[in-house]
């Protein structure tokens, strides 16, 4: 008897939970957007800032009634998959997205992951927005990948040119982690520096991704006394330690990178030694952030306890997907329609002050529009916070 009662209670509870779950989504149909990226291990910060940006924006949209695409208003659901920075798992993640009928995916975070998922995405009609710089992903015959940030071969030349003209930089040294992304960024950085007439005094020093003490790594580089030290593709975890080691070794020149960084991580890890460090960011500096950006930061902080400045650039991918679908509702299940819309798409950029636009670019780099127009905001770190050094555009 007791057993029967227990079974009945369990069934009743299950039915109640099911009913409640249905009730939550009863108002709007659900539009699933995928995320495949690294959310564990040493590079977890990259993917987690992606995932949390998407979840924050989705929760915000759902709370305010949903997102209107055509005549239907959708609640947004983010489906995430941790690829552990392993291309094999990236493929598994993209397969999962295909099985769930998802056509729009943000990620992966690395070149090899993004290259690996290309056949799966193209075969299953998935548009994906990687944070990877390999040009072959975005250049024909590739069709389904859209670069979700500014590539280093776009930001690097702009930064070096600025520093050459404004700060008198003549010599430059490069340091990179011994991984595919940082190494490829170093190669293109060296080429860009040479094209500008800068003298490259060191470009062969690398470090293991698990390095914890950078003094021995940097010692031979600092001996070359470059005007500019470029930390190619440096992760937020390594940046403060590299800066600290360079300054403690007596280096007085400029230090820059073409990746996004986090102000708190720099503040804690390098303190005042990070003053003057130049990096690429989004639109959260007070000079540029719109009220929507400030609201996003507030909501992200409320949801996850702490904001990550990398999300200044990572807030954009989901916004682009939804705004493009709103511009052409037929694209919701047909990526060919999405691709057609990309050529002419334009919408106001909600996260920046002024008349900034959301639009697709990339014709110069990839011969087709396969890049979202994120503002190229070059920041300098001063006394614990980022300040905008200059803003440029990319095509």
């Amino acid at each position: 008897m007791k057993r029967r009662t227990l079974v009945k209670s369990a069934l009743a509870a299950t039915a109640l939970v099911a009913l409640q779950s249905t009730a939550v989504f009863a108002g709007n149909p659900v539009l699933k957007i995928g995320f495949v990226g690294v959310t564990s291990g040493p590079a977890a910060a990259w993917g987690i800032s992606n995932q949390r940006s998407m979840e924050t924006r989705a929760a915000w949209i759902n709370e305010t009634g949903g997102y209107k695409i055509g005549n239907t208003t959708y609640d947004i659901k983010i489906v995430s998959f941790d690829d552990q920075k392993d291309p094999k798992r990236s493929i598994a993640g993209m397969d999962k997205m295909a099985q769930e009928g998802i056509h729009y995916v943000v990620g992966p975070n690395t070149d090899d992951g993004a290259e690996a998922v290309r056949p799966v995405a193209e075969a299953n009609g998935i548009m994906y927005f990687p944070y990877a710089f390999s040009k072959s992903l975005y250049t024909p015959p590739a069709s389904n990948a859209v670069l979700a940030m500014v590539a280093n071969y776009q930001s690097g030349p702009a930064i070096y040119k600025y520093l050459k003209e404004k700060k008198g930089v003549k010599t430059v040294a490069f340091v990179a982690a011994n991984e595919s992304d940082p190494l490829s960024q170093r190669t293109s950085g060296v080429a860009a520096a040479k094209a500008l007439g800068l003298k490259v005094v060191s470009d062969n020093v690398t470090y293991q991704p698990d390095t914890t003490d950078f003094t021995p790594v940097l010692t031979p580089v600092i001996r070359q006394r470059p005007d500019l030290l470029v930390l190619s593709g440096v992760s937020p975890a390594h940046a403060p330690q590299l800066i600290r080691s360079a300054r403690e070794l007596g280096y007085q020149g400029l230090i820059s990178t073409e990746t996004a960084q986090d102000a708190q991580v720099l503040r804690e890890g390098a303190g005042d030694l990070a003053n003057g460090f130049i990096s690429v960011g989004g639109a959260s500096t007070p000079e540029l952030a719109s009220d929507a950006m400030k609201e996003f930061v507030k909501r992200y902080t409320k949801m996850f306890g702490e904001y990550n400045d990398e999300s200044n650039t990572k807030v954009y991918a989901l916004e682009y997907i939804l705004a493009t679908l709103a511009a052409n509702p037929k694209a919701i299940n047909d990526v060919k329609e999405f691709q057609k819309t990309m050529d002419t798409f334009e919408a106001p950029n909600p996260f920046m002050k002024g008349n900034a636009k959301l639009t697709y670019v990339g014709t110069t780099s990839f011969t087709q529009k396969r890049q979202i127009a994120v503002p190229l905001v070059v920041n300098t770190f001063e006394n614990g916070a980022f300040k905008t050094l200059f803003v440029a555009t990319v095509d």
């Binding site: 291990g41 021995p216 975890a237 403060p240 390098a270």
Partner: protein, 289 residues
């Protein structure tokens, strides 16, 4: 050359500290603790929270790291490893358990401390610059000194204290120790707690130099295994030797080989393979285990 030597001593001291706890646990229980790196990371995060966030004195934070990890280690041994060791004679059971604990701790670290790199204010400011022949920040010198002091204190504890003697007896022959009246269960727990405490101590020391993030656990465990294999598994002096050998190899490799690209660890791994092919028990290990 002076700089290379200074870097070697500094790296060697911190590596030896990391390897000590791992080899102690292996010696006592024949357990390869894959979660050792994660324990080191937790030690770093405890110091970060107490010293960096709450602003309490560094020494309090360091002690808190040691105590937290000792308690965590004791609990893990008592409630996880001890039952598995009693219930299964297969070594892979404890290896799987250790790997599972490593994943669990990684997930807990992410939940509690987040994904970001964390750092604490410097405990000593300033840089020693000896005519550009040796450049070494004072905090590294201090941490290096503390690491060497801790190693000496640990050796003295193992050599001269009653607990240390019991632990050594346990490591030499578990059955004989039991027959001599050593409470094997109790000292296994104490030994595991001590090994975990050493991981916490080195985490608390190094967070002031390198900062800490959740991804440091796995690579730290791998380096610790390398040192233990070089010195000889389960031999305390071997772990110290392994740590200093790896530290010097890394310092020399980075200075001499950097012009050829990042081949330092390639050379180290090839050397290790050749070395283990010739002497599989390591420098000070016994061929019979």
């Amino acid at each position: 050359m002076e700089q290379v030597l200074a870097n070697g001593i500094y790296l060697g001291a911190q590596y030896a500290m990391i390897a000590l706890g791992l080899t102690l646990i292996f010696a006592l229980m024949n357990v390869l603790n894959f979660a050792h790196g994660q324990m080191y990371v937790i030690g770093g995060f405890v110091t970060y929270t107490i010293y960096g966030q709450l602003g309490l004195p560094y020494i309090v934070a360091l002690l808190a790291s040691c105590v937290t990890l000792a308690v965590l280690g004791a609990l893990i041994e008592r409630f996880l490893f001890a039952p598995v060791i009693k219930g299964s004679a297969r070594e892979e059971s404890t290896m799987l358990l250790a790997a599972g604990i490593a994943f669990l701790l990684d997930a807990l670290i992410l939940l509690i401390f987040g994904e970001k790199q964390r750092g604490v204010p410097k405990i000593v400011n300033g840089v020693l610059n000896w005519d550009f022949r040796i450049i070494m920040p004072y905090d590294r010198i201090l941490i290096c000194g503390l690491a060497i002091f801790s190693i000496v204190a640990f050796i003295a504890f193992m050599q001269f204290s009653r607990t240390g003697r019991a632990l050594r007896a346990l490591a030499q022959d578990r059955t004989a120790a039991q027959l001599m009246g050593v409470n094997v269960d109790r000292y296994s727990t104490i030994g595991f707690a001590l090994g975990a405490m050493l991981a916490g101590l080195v985490g608390g020391l190094l967070v002031t130099i390198t900062g800490i993030n959740l991804g440091m656990g796995g690579p730290t465990s791998i380096k610790a295994f390398m040192m233990v294999m070089i010195g000889g598994a389960g031999v305390i002096s071997g772990a110290i030797a392994g740590g200093f050998i790896l530290g010097f190899m890394e310092a020399i490799g980075l200075a001499v080989l950097s012009q050829y690209g990042d081949i330092t660890y390639l050379v180290i791994f090839i050397s290790l393979m050749i070395f283990l092919a010739i002497r599989p028990q390591g420098l000070m290990g016994k061929p019979w285990g």
